[in-house]
Symmetry: C2
Subunit: 393 residues, 2 copies
């Protein structure tokens, strides 16, 4: 994978300083180019992107486009996206899914297939995922599977989707016995991150998105963590310049990691920092009760605590991360999943995680600030961590 | 793609003459090696392969294997496969699906996911598709999608699956609005064609398999068609030497075509000779009423008739193909799908086929014996062909 982003070095935390100030304003979007072995695609980050046909000009002209969105996002943006796509497609259809992680199921996915077939869409159809991570994951999997693969475009309207779903090509749905258990790797043709959409995002979801951004500090780039500590308040009020940098830098780091390991054989797993505990929280509470980013926020603190108990980081690091997570507006205390055997329930849920191998849980831990490591831990230690992190403040 | 098969030249119809006679007997299986850009895998063709652990020795040793089979095949062969796999996997589970094309649905597919998750199977699990094309397609799609991709092995027990599903990597399920509309390209690790399984195959299904074998003559290799005319009776009584050659040559031709076009951008479409009409028959009659191979048999005659009316082949070629299809035990008259507007119904069904583009039907036609071409045809001519081929004998 190669990543080209104007003059910025991907591995440098100074990229933002080199950006022309105007590019975070109303005019040309910033472009992060993701270069995978087989295909390359751009991520456009900017404002007013629903009224600029040029943002979509690189796409193959086709007969048919299908906008996949949800009941929340559709009334806000689907009409504008449809208008701008009418320049490129003779038919622009729309399918509106129910909103929420609880609907990330085969039944909902099938609504996309129904729409594609009812409209007579063929192999040259382009799907547009307009919404958050759930819409993006389902649209991507529908695109991967419809007629064994059609192209798709991500138009993420949540902060979490802008930083997390834009890079990596992971798509999928949930199974009652596990999250994201059914899916495919399928890269988009283009990702359009319109920062204006974050104005309509509930504060709770903005915070959830910040969790995935904060993640990149401990695992990869402590300069970025310091930048976040300085700009967390600006991010929470949707300052465009701060958002543009945070989204861009997150995409760059994720691209660098994914590029080294597209199929998640090793390194890529570090992106799951906080996710092993986080998935247990989401699943144990019932999908949708805790937002994904909230689970990741609390999960990162649990993983940091486990790292500390294994002697990998000091207590000061855990406290620093905890402070940033709290300032992002995220819960810092993990929920009790089972009043009788809470730690046992966490362990049970983590053992069915996709990343587990033969029932052995592989945790993403912090091996000194800015560096992640994948390893197992004794159950007794994990129990202590669960007990500590779920205790009342 | 490269294909290595002992000393035989893949593009030569004389391959069988070069085979040592013993290799179609009880001992070592014949191996056709399929070499795709990313991966290479062998097809083993022989007898007694359920009792030879060596046939599976090349597979990665793993913790968990899941045999996916159906209610018909399970009592015949699943126990023997399970025994032979026990040498390589500490857990060998089984899931038994209902039999038939009508069950090639999401609901049935989900039984595989349920089994995988209930047994705690992880990313190193290997799936074994033990059955016909439906089992193979569903197992392959489950393998492509479970945790975004796990390996699988094809153990086809029908003639059709041995020659058709062994090569190409197409997997998928049906949608109420179209066949194989949802799926993935996913290559197996290994294909094991045990010719002994054909002894338990109903004569009607053996004939259906012969349709896919006959197909390779008109589109690619008229010497093979001549060989089939000489050996069709031997094939119908499961002569092992004849079957081994027919399966091997079919796999070789398919591999040569797929290798030139893995993602079905162009050339690969010629493998769908007879399938555009055939899918209309299957779909119009209701999945499962006509076997896939029966639809292809009658469909080939319709496509040949259309080729003739377009001046591409003479009437003698059509008669010759019709005679071979009849001797294979296949219906030569296409069914009436709609008493009021039969030709209109055929056209309507063919327009929703995956191969249609913007509602335009692309037929695989014979452009002189041994050569296929992809082209459209005037509706009026297609109507004449439907009327002719559906007429009472």
């Amino acid at each position: 994978m190669t990543i080209a982003s104007e003059s910025a070095d991907v591995d440098s935390a100074t990229a933002v300083a080199e950006l022309p100030a105007r590019s975070t304003q109303n005019d040309a979007p910033q472009i992060v180019r993701i270069g995978l072995a087989e295909r390359s695609y751009p991520i456009a980050i900017g404002t007013h992107l629903f009224s600029e046909a040029e943002a979509y000009a690189s796409l193959p002209q086709g007969h048919c486009a299908l906008i996949v969105t949800n009941t929340t996002v559709s009334p806000l943006y689907a009409g504008r996206l449809k208008s701008v796509l009418a320049a490129s497609y003779s038919q622009v259809h729309r399918v509106v899914l129910p909103d929420g992680e609880a609907h990330k199921t085969w039944q909902t996915l099938n609504l996309i297939f129904d729409a594609l077939l009812q409209h007579g869409c063929d192999r040259n159809t382009v799907l547009f995922a307009l919404g958050g991570g759930v819409v993006g994951d389902m649209t991507g999997f529908a695109a991967a599977s419809f007629m064994r693969g059609v192209p798709f475009v991500q138009v993420p309207t949540t902060l979490l989707a802008q930083v997390d779903s834009s890079v990596g090509g992971k798509t999928g749905i949930n199974h009652p016995l596990g999250k994201n258990m059914i899916g495919a790797f399928h890269q988009p043709l283009l990702v359009v991150c319109d920062l204006d959409t974050l104005d309509t995002l509930p504060a709770r979801e903005l915070s959830a998105g910040l969790a995935e951004i904060i993640k990149y500090g401990p695992i990869y780039d402590m300069d970025f963590m310091a930048w976040l500590e300085a700009h967390i308040d600006a991010l929470r009020v949707c300052d465009r310049v701060a958002l543009a940098h945070a989204v861009r830098r997150s995409c760059e780091i994720k691209a660098a990691v994914v590029g080294a390991d597209e199929r998640e054989a090793g390194l890529r797993a570090i992106l799951n920092f906080g996710h092993t505990f986080g998935h247990a929280i989401e699943s144990g509470m019932g999908y949708g009760v805790w937002l994904h980013g909230e689970g990741v926020g609390a999960g990162m603190l649990m993983a940091a605590e486990l790292s500390h108990r294994l002697g990998l980081v000091d207590a000061a690091f855990c406290a620093r991360l905890r402070a940033l997570v709290a300032r992002a507006g995220l819960p810092v205390r993990a929920p009790v999943l089972d009043a009788n055997d809470n730690a046992g329930r966490y362990l049970e849920l983590m053992r069915v995680d996709k990343k587990a191998q033969a029932g052995e849980i592989r945790f993403v831990l912090i091996d000194g600030p800015g560096k992640a490591v994948l390893r197992t831990a004794p159950d007794a230690l994990v129990r202590e961590v669960v007990n500590t992190c779920c205790a009342p403040a």
